[in-house]
């Protein structure tokens, strides 16, 4: 089962190493990890996504709690949270594929942010499933390279993590 976990951490020396090395050490496989400063520069917020059974997920949350620099860990409920990811996708631009790429980009509300006679770079934002779908659509048209940010998520409504 897929889980999204929000982690509020102190912005201290080595905190990202501490969090990421935990996964290897405890044998957890995560799908994505994003990190960025919060409105308070002393703290950062990490969003983790992973696929695994409840036991693995619960262990991960408990082990995260034990890290001294971790202030809060919360399992986000997909039904009551919003989730977004951004991807930059470079595709080959040929006269045969150009129209199809542009049409697909429009349907996915993606933006072309770079254009040369033989390549295009497309920015797409949305839930990770939408990004996956867009990538699938681009595959037959010739993907050159991809860069994904990994998911970020917040709870809906006025609920806050800290």
């Amino acid at each position: 089962m897929r889980s999204v976990i929000a982690v509020y951490v102190e912005n201290k020396y080595g905190v990202l190493t501490r969090v990421s090395s935990l996964f290897m050490r405890r044998g957890f496989n995560i799908d994505s990890l994003t990190v960025g400063e919060t409105d308070d520069p002393d703290f950062s917020r990490i969003t983790l996504t992973l696929n695994g059974d409840d036991h693995i997920r619960d262990q991960l949350i408990k082990q995260l709690y034990k890290l001294e620099n971790v202030k809060k860990v919360k399992l986000l409920d997909e039904a009551t949270s919003v989730e977004r990811e951004l991807a930059l996708i470079k595709v080959r631009n040929t006269p045969d594929t150009r129209n199809e790429i542009m049409t697909a980009a429009e349907i996915f509300r993606a933006k072309v942010i770079d254009y040369t006679p033989d390549s295009m770079c497309i920015e797409v934002t949305g839930e990770p499933t939408k990004i996956n779908a867009f990538i699938e659509a681009m595959k037959p048209l010739g993907i050159a390279e991809i860069c994904r940010t990994g998911a970020v998520a917040l709870e809906r409504g006025s609920t806050v993590l800290m």
Binding site: G14, R18, S21, H55, D58, Y65, K66
Partner: protein
């Protein structure tokens, strides 16, 4: 003397803050990047005793032994680079057994960090996975609070080692030092939820009242919390029996009628059987390691588990718990015991008696095979019978790792807590010498170190430390000429192919001890051993007593690796040994 707001160097602030934390002993080894700290230690020599070991690993084990014997955090100091890396095994040993320790390392000045400078190593990165927390201090202004936090973290909740890496320029930089006005509050235990605890306690009491075969399982967490008396009273009330892990040994007096012994791969028969057939296991500060449970899938399938632990991540980690109660056992256990009704389970007690009878029968059968006098070797059980008869209640028994350790766990009789000092989780051969030295400085009682020729060979350089500080250690050296524990596996599971387990060394341990300035004696039988031990227990110098042990001696009972109590091996026929 009013010391408020004095400008001091980082090294001076470090020492002042150590004094604030109540530190009276530091173990360690000097070097280029801690020479300022050692200079300040020299100035503070009337307040803090420095103990110089032969090797940083010995110093780390000494700080660990000090902490195990006293419950207070042990402190170790080492220089950068190899000094710091030599601490690694000692820190990991403390981590795996949840021992409070503060390790302080020097490092090259911040301007030289990252340039592969002389004796520069990223000890912060190296020790990330083997510390409860660690620090790299970049500003002298943060130093005092970092040290205070380090002690708080090392000692609170589930204890563990904390490392502080201090670059040389931070040690020499000056800033205002302000002593802490009052001791800092105890550290918070992550994951404690009072409402949830109350709910779980209620459910736990219900399970206990429904149980007909309750069994209490004491781990290092309960031993460290010092709740043994309450546990014994509780067991009387609910008519339960008590077993322990290796780390729980000596918490419950061996002769207590509720006590069945140690569980696990080489555990006592009766506790293993009680555990297997219990309908309820009340686990107090134990983590169900693989050496305790064997095959986790088959472990105590008939029992529900109530688990009390200071570490939320231990609940459900290895064995599913019906009830998990997170918090300091000094609070959660009395809360559980309160309001528990008296119960009586005659059927369970009768069964327990059966297990004890069977255990006795197994022991008597083994006794018949015990090698008689005149064979030139002593039986392990005989050795411990002598030790038990001559040691006093407050004698700490320290061990290394291997067969001798398991025999010590099986045969030593304890009356008082914190008297069994042994590396459990990491199983560190070479732990004993350093740990025995630290134990001596911690509790002031003469330790008996039980070691083997394999383990002793790893850190015997610390004999020099014991002689220098006139530590009257009694070192009982089981010499079977082989790496007995691995050899035992080869005997039982590897077709007796003794790959690299035969030592065939020509070491003369008597001369070796004498060369270090210690006493050395080799005994040939139990009578000689008793005489030698008597003398060693009165000696003012460390004594090495070399005891010849047969290389084919096995530690039994044994649950084969990956097996369960269903597969317990209690005896090996003479035929199998040929």
């Amino acid at each position: 003397m009013n010391r408020s707001n004095i400008r001091m160097t980082g090294a001076g602030i470090l020492i002042e803050t150590l004094c604030e934390m109540g530190v009276s002993h530091v173990f360690g080894y000097p070097g280029g990047q801690v020479v300022n700290i050692y200079d300040e230690l020299w100035r503070a020599r009337r307040r803090i005793t420095r103990i110089l070991t032969a090797h940083e690993q010995g110093a780390a084990h000494a700080a660990d032994g000090y902490a195990r014997a006293t419950g207070k955090p042990g402190v170790v100091i080492a220089t950068s680079g190899p000094g710091a890396t030599n601490l690694v095994t000692g820190i990991a040993t403390a981590m795996l057994d949840s021992v409070p320790m503060v390790a302080i390392t020097g490092n090259v000045p911040t301007g030289l960090i990252g340039r592969d400078s002389f004796q520069e190593i990223n000890i912060y990165g190296i020790t990330l996975p083997i510390t409860k927390h660690n620090y790299f201090v970049t500003d002298v202004k943060d130093l005092a609070d970092t040290i205070r936090d380090a002690f708080k973290i090392a000692t609170s909740g589930r204890p563990g080692p904390v490392l502080i890496d201090i670059p040389k320029d931070v040690q020499t930089a000056k800033c205002e030092y302000r002593p802490a006005d009052h001791p800092s509050a105890a550290g918070e235990i992550p994951g404690v939820n009072e409402e949830e605890t109350a709910r779980q306690l209620e459910l736990a009491r219900k399970l206990i009242s429904e149980s007909e075969r309750p069994y209490i399982f004491v781990g290092g967490g309960a031993a460290g919390a010092g709740i043994a008396d309450e546990v014994i009273k509780f067991s009387e009330k609910i008519d339960a029996y008590i077993g322990c892990t290796l780390m729980g040994l000596s918490a419950i007096p061996t002769d207590n009628r509720r006590y069945l012994g140690m569980e696990g791969m080489h555990g006592h028969y009766s506790s293993s059987m009680a555990n297997k057939n219990a309908d309820l296991i009340i686990c107090l500060g134990a983590r169900f390691s693989d050496r305790t449970t064997g095959n986790a899938e088959k472990y105590s399938r008939k029992a529900k588990v109530i688990q009390l632990d200071a570490d939320i991540a231990e609940i459900d980690k290895n064995i599913p718990a019906a009830i998990g109660i997170v918090g300091d056992l000094r609070e959660t256990f009395p809360a559980l015991a309160e309001g528990i009704g008296t119960a009586c389970h005659p059927e369970w007690s009768r069964e327990i008696e059966e297990y004890r009878k069977e255990e006795k029968r197994i022991a008597e059968a083994a006794d018949k095979k015990r090698r008689s006098s005149g064979t030139g070797v002593l039986s392990p059980k005989d050795i411990f019978e002598v030790i038990n008869s001559l040691k006093s209640a407050d004698t700490p028994v320290v061990t290394d790792v291997g067969q001798h350790q398991m025999w010590a766990a099986q045969y030593t009789e304890f009356e008082l807590p914190r008297k069994f000092i042994s590396s459990g989780g990491l199983g560190t051969m070479g732990f004993g010498m350093g740990a025995a030295i630290g134990t001596w400085f911690g509790c002031g009682c003469r330790p008996v170190l039980v070691t083997g020729d394999g383990s002793f060979g790893m850190n015997l350089n610390e004999l020099a430390t014991a002689v220098t500080y006139r530590i009257p250690l009694v070192i009982v050296l089981f010499n079977n000429g082989v790496l007995g524990m691995v050899r035992q596996w080869q005997t039982l599971f590897f077709g007796k192919r003794y790959s690299s387990t035969v030592l065939e060394r020509k070491t003369d341990y008597v001369k070796l001890a004498e060369a270090f300035g210690a006493k050395g004696i080799r005994v040939k039988d139990t009578g000689e051993f008793a005489e030698a031990l008597k003398a060693a227990l009165k000696s003012s110098l460390p004594t090495v007593i070399e005891v010849p042990v047969g290389k084919d001696e096995l530690v039994l009972p044994m649950l084969p690796p990956g097996g369960s109590t269903d597969d317990i091996i209690t005896s090996i026929g003479e035929e199998d040994m040929k």
